[in-house]
């Protein structure tokens, strides 16, 4: 078939007929309708019913009251017949219904005298006797939006996000005095920091993802979103050619910002779970852990002077999301959005590893060193090690 006829053919198709496009779809519709109405000869394949519920959120709105939000991510409707709290049947109400259709949601309200600072387990018992648990690790009244609490949350975000990033940036004048070799070490160290962040963000994202309702396909979603995020950033950079050092700094700040959003979510949620006391220790830990993020952001611009304005903007971009994350985690945690943001963050961090890595390799080439040498390698290892050991403060 010649190229000419192909073109003509495609032209004729586009003219003649959407019908031809629709025909297979129409037939598909007919077959589906047949299977649904007559069973399509598959009746014998019908297995026992499968019930699945995922608990989305547990709220303690007031003393003596528990609320849990549930989604049905199984293949069939599920009826919640009874509710147990701590191995005791308890009265409850369901809004909108005790029966959840596939992908349906309900909120169960249980007038249970929960005990502050102690653990509880809510168990939903389905009509077929399947059970679904929601754990309350430390019972504390869920925070209600108030100006003072809002301020406290924002302050926490400030301490774990903006403050350490700014402090880290204060090494900038010092870095400017460093020799070329020392600066190569600092840039390599930045790569190491970022590798650690990429791994930890990946682990956080997959952890969220694994707990999402099944239809979200959480882990593949993390993989694809991070690949799309990485690909988009790479495509943008190759279009504009070589990046300026300041652009690299902004990219690093963006990647770190998305990572800090995840940390903020975790901390905010911890507060809403009532772990305010240990939260303060964690805040100190995160402040220390995150101080190197400022170094990573400032390192690419050592040879240029971007000015104070840009440093403030970079600090806000990298640290600000921690404030947003803390507020979201405390008030309106959404596991799906959290997973997506973390996945975007992975792509962004991997992309800056690529960018800074290129800077290190170029620097090595200019100095006549091999791409991988002891200075760069020890820098990377030192970066990973700093993050690894300061993380001891936030893992117990």
């Amino acid at each position: 078939m010649s190229t000419k006829t192909q073109v003509e053919l495609s032209k004729r198709v586009s003219g003649a007929g959407w019908l031809l496009v629709l025909a297979p779809l129409l037939l598909l519709g007919i077959i589906l309708a047949l299977i649904v109405t007559t069973g399509g000869g598959l009746r014998e394949l019908a297995g026992p019913p499968v019930e699945k519920l995922t608990v989305q959120r547990v709220i303690l709105p007031e003393p003596g009251m528990i609320q849990i939000e549930v989604i049905n991510d199984g293949p069939q409707p599920v009826t919640v017949a009874q509710v147990q709290v701590d191995d005791a049947y308890w009265s409850f109400t369901a809004e909108p219904s005790t029966t959840l259709p596939r992908l349906g949601r309900s909120t169960f309200t249980i007038p249970y005298p929960w005990v502050a600072e102690e653990a509880h387990v809510v168990r939903l018992v389905s009509g077929l006797g399947a059970t679904f648990d929601a754990e309350i690790a430390v019972a504390v009244e869920s925070p209600r939006p108030s100006a003072s609490l809002f301020l406290r949350f924002a302050l926490v975000g400030l301490y774990v996000g903006i403050v350490p990033v700014m402090l880290g940036m204060l090494w900038y004048p010092f870095m400017r005095r460093l020799s070329n070799a020392a600066m190569n070490f600092v840039l390599s160290l930045t790569v190491g920091l970022l590798i650690f962040l990429a791994v930890s963000t990946w682990l956080d994202a997959t952890e969220f993802a694994a707990e999402l309702p099944a239809f979200w396909q959480g882990v593949p979603m993390v993989l694809f979103v991070s690949l799309i995020s990485l690909g988009t950033l790479l495509a943008l950079s190759s279009r504009r050619g070589e990046r300026t050092p300041l652009q690299v700094s902004y990219l690093i700040a963006l990647g770190i910002g998305l990572h800090n959003l995840g940390e903020g979510l975790a901390i905010g949620a911890a507060f809403s779970l009532g772990e305010a006391a240990l939260g303060s220790f964690l805040v100190l830990g995160f402040t220390l852990h995150n101080i190197t993020e400022g170094v990573a952001i400032a390192a690419p611009v050592v040879r240029v002077s971007p000015g104070l304005k840009h440093f403030v903007a970079l600090a806000v971009l990298a640290g600000g999301p921690a404030i947003v994350g803390t507020l979201l985690g405390g008030y309106a945690f959404d596991p799906v959005l959290a997973t997506v943001f973390l996945a975007i963050g992975i792509g962004a961090i991997v992309q800056v590893i690529w960018e800074v890595g290129k800077m290190v390799i170029r620097d090595n080439a200019r100095a006549g060193r091999p791409a991988v040498n002891w200075i760069s390698l020890s820098g990377v290892v030192a970066g990973v090690a700093i993050m690894y050991f300061t993380a001891f403060l936030v893992k117990f």
Binding site: V125, V140, V156, D204, L273
Partner: protein, 386 residues
């Protein structure tokens, strides 16, 4: 807080860090909540959706809704008193013959409001029929297996080896569609039970194949209001732990429908424990003490003036007590977990003049009253001077 968030947090191990780490840190004051929430216990009458006095007085504890007894085909209220005497005739040697037919059937039953359990049953009910006879009667039970699994009838009593109803004895397991007639003399007198002994035993028992077997002593026992209570439980998600505990199958049923009885009259319970998975069960009576006859094989109590007893699986006994004052008296397993998972009920003790109303309140009538007071296979012994 979602599961994912919680797990995420526990991975980060926020939870075990403890407040100690924060002590003295500058951030602590800043971050601490203005006040720690202290839940208030709900007072009497604050139950929101309670159906029972229990619920009303215990901050809405208990189950929600009612079980459909008609769909189930049995009513736990009737089960308390529905003694099955069999088809009675007299053998040439003068012995009383009691003939029964018991059919094993697979059936979904509602064990708590809205919660269905794929049970294996005797005669479509759990527990199976309460077989009641007199010591020395000849018992002949035609067992029909209409279930898709092999089953047996194993009686706790005295009988020849081939009537033991276990694999390897006599006909062994009775296959689907098969029939076997178990036959023996009823002895010793007491409060006994029967159950399926097919393998695997655990499953055959906890699926619902058991029932009460009451053998009255030849001379009878003193007149009393009698009830049979089979303590059972159901593992609805098959994880080796029970989700619903009960007496006569339906969780909290006698809390929603308190059992009527009269002030001063002797109450006699035939209590049997068949709970699977848990090593023991117990019975605790509120506001009174009882005499206990372990296995019911003696005419004198084996334990006097107690208000709590424990029973291992298949252990059973007879309890006798009287209430002095009217009231809604609770009884339950004094294993609080079992009580809160369904094994809790009430007696509604009333003055004789209030008794018809108490009966009507739970949908029972004079027939039920007569069965509960005149159920013995031996006419009440008339005590000298009474």
């Amino acid at each position: 807080m979602s599961q994912s968030m919680r797990r995420f947090l526990s991975r980060r191990d926020f939870l075990r860090a403890g407040a100690a780490g924060a002590a003295g840190l500058a951030g602590a004051a800043l971050l601490s909540q203005p006040s720690i929430a202290r839940p208030l216990a709900q007072g009497p009458g604050s139950g929101h959706t309670g159906h029972s006095p229990y619920a009303m007085e215990h901050g809405a504890a208990g189950m929600v809704g009612e079980v459909d007894n008609v769909r189930n085909g049995f009513d736990p209220m009737q089960m308390l008193v529905d003694w099955d005497y069999g088809q009675v005739s007299i053998l040439p040697n003068g012995q009383t013959l009691r003939e029964y037919t018991i059919v094993a059937v697979d059936k979904d039953i509602e064990i708590a409001p809205g919660v269905f359990f794929p049970a294996w049953t005797y005669n479509g009910r759990v527990p199976g029929p309460t077989i009641r006879c007199t010591e020395g009667d000849h018992i002949r039970i035609k067992f029909v297996n209409a279930s898709v699994h092999p089953h047996t009838l194993h009686f706790h009593g005295v009988h020849p080896f081939e009537m033991d109803g276990v694999p390897g004895a006599g006909p062994g397991e009775i296959a689907t569609g098969q029939t076997f007639t178990y036959e023996f003399d009823a002895e010793p007198f007491g409060c006994h039970l029967y159950h399926c002994h097919a393998n695997p035993l655990k499953r055959h028992i906890h699926k619902g194949l058991y029932g009460a077997f009451i053998v009255d002593p030849k001379a009878g026992r003193p007149p009393a209001r009698e009830f049979v209570m089979v303590m059972n439980a159901f593992d609805t998600n098959f994880d080796g732990e029970n989700e619903v505990y009960a007496v006569n199958t339906v969780g909290h049923v006698y809390a929603r429908r308190p059992i009527p009885a009269q002030v001063g009259e002797l109450i006699r319970l035939y209590l049997i424990n068949i709970v699977e998975f848990d090593p023991i069960n117990s019975f605790h009576l509120h506001a009174e003490f009882f005499d206990y006859y372990d296995h019911g094989t003696t005419l004198e109590p084996t334990l006097r003036t107690v208000d709590t007893i424990i029973q291992a699986q298949a252990q059973r006994g007879i309890l006798e007590f009287r209430y002095r004052w009217p009231g809604q008296y609770m009884y339950h397993a004094h294993i609080s977990e079992f009580a809160e998972l369904g094994w809790m009920g009430n007696f509604n003790i009333v003055q004789p003049e209030d008794f018809p109303a108490a009966l009507a309140q739970v949908g029972m009538d004079e027939t039920w009253d007569r069965r509960s007071t005149q159920g013995a296979t031996v006419p009440w012994r008339v005590e000298a001077g009474s």
